[in-house]
C-alpha cells in the first residue's frame, strides 16, 4: 500500500542526503517501527508520505498513486486519509479539546450531527471523555498526546503516522500511548512509528526498520531495537 521506490532527499544542494536510496514497502495493517539515531532520516521519510517534503529522487506511492504528482485537492484528500501524531502534540492552542478534534472532521467535510456524535466517542476511546471542554494547556503531556491520537484517528484513516509520540512522556504515559497505538492497529489501521525508545520497540514485537545516515540498515519482521 505504501511504497518508497529508490527515494533520496537532499535539503541543501551539495549537502549530505537526509535519506538516500530508500526502497521500502509497507502492507495494509502492518505495525512498523522505524528506529535510528537523531538525524538518521526517520522524520524525513515520514514527511514524504504526506508531502510535507518531496523527494529529490525516486517516487513515493500511496496505493497506486505517486504522491509527488497529486494535485492540491487530491493532496488534501490524502492528508485526511493519514493521521499524524508528533512528539510536541501539535494541538490548536486556541481551540478546546472538542474543537480540536471536530476540526479534523470539519476539514473532511463531515456534517454537524456526525461531528457531535464522533468526538465524544473517540475521546472515550482514548480515555478523555471528561476533558472535552478543556483547552490543551489545561491538560498534562500524556493527555495532550491522547487528544492528538484521538484527532488523528477520528477520520478513520488508513495510515497512522506517529513521529516520536512518546518522546515527551513519562514511562506510564508512554505505555498508555503504545497500548492505544496497538489497539488502533488491531482495528486495521496501518501504523508507522518512529522512536528512540528501546523498551517501546521491544514491547511491540512487530516489524522494525532500522535507519542510519539516511539508509535502511536492517529490516526485521519481528524485530528488536538493535543499534
Amino acid at each position: 500500500m505504501i511504497y518508497f521506490d529508490k527515494v533520496s532527499k537532499v535539503y541543501t544542494a551539495g549537502g549530505p542526503p537526509a535519506v538516500a536510496d530508500i526502497t521500502l514497502s509497507i502492507d495494509p495493517g502492518e505495525f512498523v517501527s522505524i528506529v535510528g539515531h537523531s538525524g538518521a532520516g526517520k522524520t524525513t521519510l515520514l514527511k514524504m508520505l504526506f508531502a510535507e517534503v518531496l523527494p529529490s529522487e525516486g517516487n513515493v506511492y500511496f496505493g497506486s498513486r505517486d504522491i509527488a504528482t497529486l494535485k492540491n485537492g487530491d493532496l488534501l484528500q490524502l492528508r485526511r486519509n493519514i493521521g499524524t501524531i508528533f512528539q510536541d502534540f501539535r494541538l490548536l492552542p486556541t481551540k478546546n479539546i472538542y474543537e480540536n478534534i471536530a476540526f479534523a472532521l470539519e476539514v473532511a467535510g463531515k456534517d454537524d450531527e456526525d461531528i457531535q456524535a464522533d468526538v465524544p466517542h473517540v475521546l472515550e476511546l482514548v480515555g478523555l471523555a471528561d476533558k472535552i471542554w478543556n483547552f490543551p494547556h489545561e491538560l498534562s503531556g500524556g493527555e495532550q498526546q491522547r487528544v492528538a491520537i484521538a484527532r488523528a484517528i477520528v477520520n478513520q484513516p488508513d495510515v497512522l503516522i506517529a513521529d516520536e509520540p512518546t518522546g515527551n512522556l513519562d514511562p506510564i504515559n508512554t505505555h498508555d500511548v503504545v497500548e492505544i497505538l496497538k489497539k488502533i492497529n488491531d482495528l486495521g489501521t496501518t501504523v508507522l512509528l518512529t522512536t528512540h525508545n528501546k523498551s517501546v520497540v521491544d514491547s511491540i514485537g512487530r516489524r522494525v526498520v532500522t535507519m542510519d545516515m539516511g539508509r535502511i540498515i536492517r529490516d526485521d519482521a519481528q524485530g528488536r531495537y538493535v543499534l
Partner: protein, 308 residues
C-alpha cells in the same frame, strides 16, 4: 460538504479567533483605527480646503468705479456693452447714494471718518459696477476690456475713475496659492501617515498570524484546504476593520462638534460638523471600506506564507 456549511464554519472560527485573542485583536484594532482616522481626516481636510478655495474664488470680482461727475447715460452705455460680452455672468449697479449709504453703514462707529465726511458736504463717492464672470479665469479678459475702454479716450472711457481688479487679484492669487500648497502638503502628510500606519497595521496583523503559524501548520497537516485555513483569519481581519471603523466614526462626532464653530469662523462658510453629517455616507463607505479591505488583505497576505 455544502458551501454554506463551510462558510458558516469559517465565519464561526473567525469570530471565535477574534474574541479569544482579545489582546492581539485590541492592538490590531487600535493601530487600524489610527490608519482609518488619517484617512477620514484627509477627506474632511480636503473638503475644507476645497471649500475655502471655492469661497475665495467667488470673492473675486471686477469693480469699475466711475468719477463723481459720470452721467447716468455713460454708465448705462458701459453696462450695456459689458452685458454683450460672453464672459460676463452678472453686473450689479451701485449708485452714488447706495455707495454712500454703504460707506456710512460700515463706518458708523468711526467718529473721525464720519466727521470728515460731514465736512466735505458733498458725496465724494462715485457710482460703480460690480461685474461677475462666469468663470474665475475670465476676469482677466474683462479687466483688459475695461482697461482698453478707459484708455480709448471716448466719452464712456473718460467716466471711468478706476478699475480695481489687479490689486484684488494679487492678494487672491497669493491666498489661493497658499491654500493650494497647504492642500498639497496636507495630502503629502496624509499619504505619508497613511502608508506608515498601513504598514504598521499590516505588521501587527502579520505578528498576530505569526503567533498562529504552528496552528496553521497543523491545519495543513489534517488536510484543511487553503481557504479553510485562511478564511477565519480573514474574517478576524475584517472584524478588526469594522470595529476600528466604528471607533473612528464615533470618535469623529464629538471632535467635529467641537471643531465646527471654529472652522466656520476660520473658513467663513465651511463648517466641518455640517460637512461630517452631510457627507457621512461617503465617509462611512471610505472608512469602513478601507478598514475591511486592509484587514482582509493583511490577513490574506500574512497567512499565505504559512500555507503549504
Amino acid at each position: 460538504m455544502s458551501v454554506w456549511t463551510t462558510t458558516k464554519r469559517i465565519a464561526r472560527y473567525g469570530l471565535i479567533g477574534f474574541l479569544r485573542n482579545g489582546f492581539v485583536s485590541l492592538s490590531a484594532i487600535l493601530i487600524m483605527a489610527i490608519t482609518l482616522f488619517v484617512i477620514a481626516g484627509r477627506i474632511i481636510f480636503g473638503a475644507a480646503m476645497h471649500a475655502a478655495l471655492n469661497d475665495l474664488r467667488t470673492k473675486v470680482d471686477v469693480t469699475v468705479y466711475f468719477t463723481t461727475v459720470a452721467t447716468d447715460s455713460q454708465i448705462q452705455s458701459l453696462k450695456q456693452s459689458l452685458s454683450s460680452l460672453p464672459e460676463v455672468a452678472s453686473i450689479e449697479y451701485v449708485s452714488r447714494e447706495q455707495a454712500l449709504d454703504e460707506f456710512k453703514r460700515r463706518h458708523q462707529n468711526d467718529q473721525l471718518t464720519m466727521q470728515a465726511l460731514d465736512e466735505l458736504g458733498d458725496n465724494p463717492l462715485g457710482a460703480s459696477l460690480e461685474i461677475r464672470a462666469k468663470d474665475p479665469s475670465q476676469y482677466e479678459a474683462i479687466a483688459k476690456y475695461l482697461d482698453a475702454q478707459q484708455q480709448s479716450g471716448t466719452d464712456v472711457g473718460d467716466a471711468i475713475d478706476k478699475i480695481n481688479f489687479y490689486k484684488n487679484k494679487t492678494a487672491i492669487d497669493k491666498l489661493s496659492a497658499f491654500i493650494d500648497n497647504s492642500r498639497k502638503i496636507g495630502m503629502a502628510i496624509a499619504v505619508f501617515f497613511g502608508v506608515a500606519t498601513i504598514l504598521i497595521a499590516f505588521n501587527t496583523i502579520r505578528l498576530a498570524i505569526y503567533t498562529a503559524r504552528d496552528e496553521i501548520g497543523v491545519m495543513n497537516l489534517v488536510g484543511a484546504s487553503h481557504w479553510y485555513v485562511r478564511g477565519p483569519f480573514m474574517i478576524a481581519g475584517v472584524l478588526y476593520g469594522i470595529v476600528s471603523g466604528i471607533i473612528v466614526l464615533v470618535a469623529l462626532y464629538p471632535i467635529m462638534v467641537w471643531m465646527g464653530p471654529g472652522s466656520e469662523r476660520f473658513l467663513s462658510s465651511f463648517n466641518v460638523f455640517t460637512y461630517y453629517i452631510s457627507a457621512f455616507p461617503l465617509i462611512f463607505m471610505v472608512v469602513m471600506g478601507s478598514g475591511v479591505a486592509l484587514g482582509a488583505l493583511s490577513s490574506y497576505l500574512a497567512v499565505r506564507r504559512y500555507l503549504k
